[in-house]
Amino acid sequence: MMSPSNQASDSAAVGTPFLELRGVHKRFAGVHALRGVSLTIEAGKIYHLMGENGCGKSTLIKIIAGAQPPDEGEIIIQGKSYGSLTSIESLSAGIETVYQDLSLLPNLSVAENVGLSEQLVRHQGRLAHALDRKRLRETAQRALAAVNLPTTAAFLGTPVEDLPIATRQLIAIARAIAVQARMVIMDEPTTSLTRREVDNLIKVVEDLRQQGVAVLFVSHKLDECYAIGGEVIVFRDGQKVRQGPINSFTKKEIAQWMTGKPIEDTRYRHVTAAGEPLLTVRALGLRSAFDDASFVLGRGEILGITGLLDSGRNELAKALAGVEPADRGGIELEGQSVSLRRPVDAIQAGIGYVPEDRLDEGLFLDKPIRDNIVVAVLDRLRGALGWLNKSESDQLANKIIADLQVATPDIDRPVKSLSGGNQQRVLIGRWLTIQPKVLILHGPTVGVDVGSKDTIYRIIQRLADEGLGVIIISDDLPELLQNCDRILVMRKGNITRSFRADNVQEGDIYKEMLAEGISKEAA
């Protein structure tokens, strides 16, 4: 699949430029986000846009998608030059942008999410037109079939909010197919997908490419980019620093161009702790989500838990944090039985939980960094008359951001002004304020760039060295292999196997994750 395609379809000649940017500049209040970017996207090719957070990737995409105008420069689409685009112009020109949130309308049906854009584009964004329901249905069916989703009336009528994330991802791609996009931009499309779902996504993308569609991925997952192939475009500080076939570069080279400094890609875990049992989980279960989960976490140990999306790993994590309490089994912390019915129970017991979705479940985005850090210990910081003691909370917050190297000029800034990696550090910092015994990290580096990952891994290691028990729930296997002492694999709600992380191959873990799923699907 990596061979240069010579089977161009009749619709577009592979290799002809579809989109060209020339000397594009963009400045935001004091920040020069794009500094003279020029690049060419050719039909029927796959591109990976890579770079650390804040390198200008998102700005570039917004300019191409018509969400923001450039300050200077030219955008040329199939020979036609534009100074700037509106979203409807970008869509009409055949550019479909799938943002990280997928840009799906949760309340509308599958058919509408897939097929409405096509009618909107056909009418150039003018809304005074009757809805062509037959066309909507047919367009949706055709596009859904192309991504292997059902085309039944029941599925077409399902509101998108009732569907799992992997299906939504494919629906967003189906929308691109429905508008007959010539170029599809996907912003971190695999972040919340399991590997099997990613494989399916890659197949769909390859189909698109063969039909002459240009695909631009934005991703932090280097391994996946190699698996997909195509060209890599590396950005740093608002400039394109490199472009070329991804397979002619090593991971290390790409990481260095992105960060501008050498990165070590080795195992972070060096000592294997043999501390006494800290957290003992006995036969924990919740409805049909998971069953009979038993394991022991030692003091200073880092335990990884992985599995497919439906394996129960997410539910187990939430049960340990008291977010969605288990309905059977028991949990002991330092030999004492604890009951985790609500998040506050876990906090009081000394269990910190950094959720997977830090934007929705973890952070108060508009609130200052300080408030986000001290929110778990408000009781302790209460001064006379119940007012919050400001100097003490400032002290605590400043200590945490220094400790975790959060890059911010001051703690009064809102959390949303930080990059993903720094937001994650604020969230970890919040739980350090309760002086936890156990820290549960759910997808700790989702949407975090290479440089920031490195810092977070070092923090995790240091915490374990200080005697904390750490549980990492993740489907990023290299991450678990680099950081953990042991890795538990879950499948269909059960913990099926435990590996020692220092002598196991990624492939073995993956096989264990899939084992039953494959045989069942073949049947």
């Binding site: 409807i88 840009s103 964004g125 809304l127 037109h129 809805l131 079939a145 989703l149 189909d207």
Partner: protein
């Protein structure tokens, strides 16, 4: 060529059996409204069998017209993720100033022209709401709380404060026109007024706009998510102006219906009806946070509120308690619809 096997699609957390009934209700919120209507009818009818009469049915329909026109407007705004509380003020301003102008300058104006002027006036005032909401990107609840004071203040300061009963003959005749006259068991007569047709027409128009036009889908798209709708190329300014102008138009017509039905124009009328209307729309299954709602559900909600407002007295419930019943139903409906989020 890749092999094509359809992926298994798991719908998020299949509900356990005990939740299925609830789930069914929540998916079809208007069935819950219907249930409440049946419940109220059953209870009132059991206590006072004379409740089951055509006269009562006609009374409820008559009382539903103004409420229903307002509710359809609120539904459209709510579907787009906004909230309008200025409709009653728009109705009062339009009905009083228009009626007064017609009486003064052209007493014999034809009905169609009066209706058209009312619709147009309401539309303009509503469009002003829409423009303000869009350009200020302020919460529409706040904006319309503001404009409704402005509209009412303008009405009472510049147009007049005195009620008058010499309404234009065309409107008087329209208010008296009947669709159906039946003899009641007690020997009297009961009439179904012709202006219920206005509500029917408005309902059909609203349904068509919401379900059968691109604009209607854009309304729901915006109610689903403002940011995403913008990214997908929907013109939010157009949608904002449309929904508020449409609600304003229905409010203008509702105001005239109020005058025609009561054969008097009182500038102090129609205040305090706002919450009844929003209650009806929410009881009809529309989501208060936007993006969900149907015309059929809204009509059922209107029927329910009109029913409670008009017939509880037959069951010996003091009229002061009507509001409490509506309130209890809203809390109940809120609880039922909230279960979906948790389940």
């Amino acid at each position: 060529m890749m092999t094509t096997s359809t992926l298994p699609i798991a719908v998020k957390s299949a509900p356990s059996r005990s939740w299925q009934v609830m789930d069914w209700l929540v998916r079809r919120p208007s069935s819950f409204t219907l249930l409440l209507i049946v419940l109220v009818c059953g209870v009132v009818g059991a206590i006072n069998p004379t409740f089951y009469s055509v006269a009562n049915l006609f009374d409820i329909l008559r009382a539903s017209v103004v409420l229903g026109l307002f509710a359809l407007g609120v539904l459209v705004v709510l579907a787009a993720g906004g909230l309008d509380v200025s409709f009653a003020a728009i109705a009062a301003l339009v009905m009083y100033s228009l009626t007064k102008a017609v009486v003064q300058f052209w007493p014999d104006a034809p009905l169609a022209l009066i209706l058209l002027a009312g619709a147009g006036g309401g539309m303009l005032l509503g469009a002003l709401n829409g423009l303000l909401v869009h350009t200020l990107s302020a919460p529409s609840l706040i904006v319309t709380i503001g404009t409704q004071y402005v509209f009412r203040g303008f009405l009472l300061t510049f147009i007049g404060t005195e009620l008058f009963m010499n309404v234009p003959p065309a409107m008087d005749a329209f208010g008296k026109a009947t669709l159906l006259t039946l003899n009641t068991a007690s020997g009297g007569q009961t009439q179904l007024p012709a202006f219920v047709l206005v509500l029917a027409a408005a309902a059909i128009l609203t349904w068509w706009l919401l379900e059968r036009t691109l604009m209607g889908r854009a309304v729901f798209a915006m109610g689903g998510s403002l940011n995403i709708a913008e990214r997908l190329g929907y013109n939010l300014r157009t949608v904002h102006v449309f929904v508020f102008a449409y609600a304003g138009m229905l409010a203008g017509v509702a105001g005239l219906m109020h005058v025609a039905a009561n054969r008097l124009a009182n500038p102090f009328d129609l205040s305090g009806i706002e919450l009844d209307v929003i209650a009806a729309v929410v009881l009809g299954g529309a989501r208060i946070t936007g993006g969900r709602g149907t015309v059929a559900g809204t009509l059922l909600g209107v029927l329910l509120v009109a029913l409670i407002n008009n017939v509880l007295i037959l069951a010996g419930v003091p009229s002061t308690w009507q509001k409490a019943v509506i309130g209890a139903f809203i809390v109940l409906a809120g609880a039922v619809f909230a279960i979906r989020r948790r389940g």
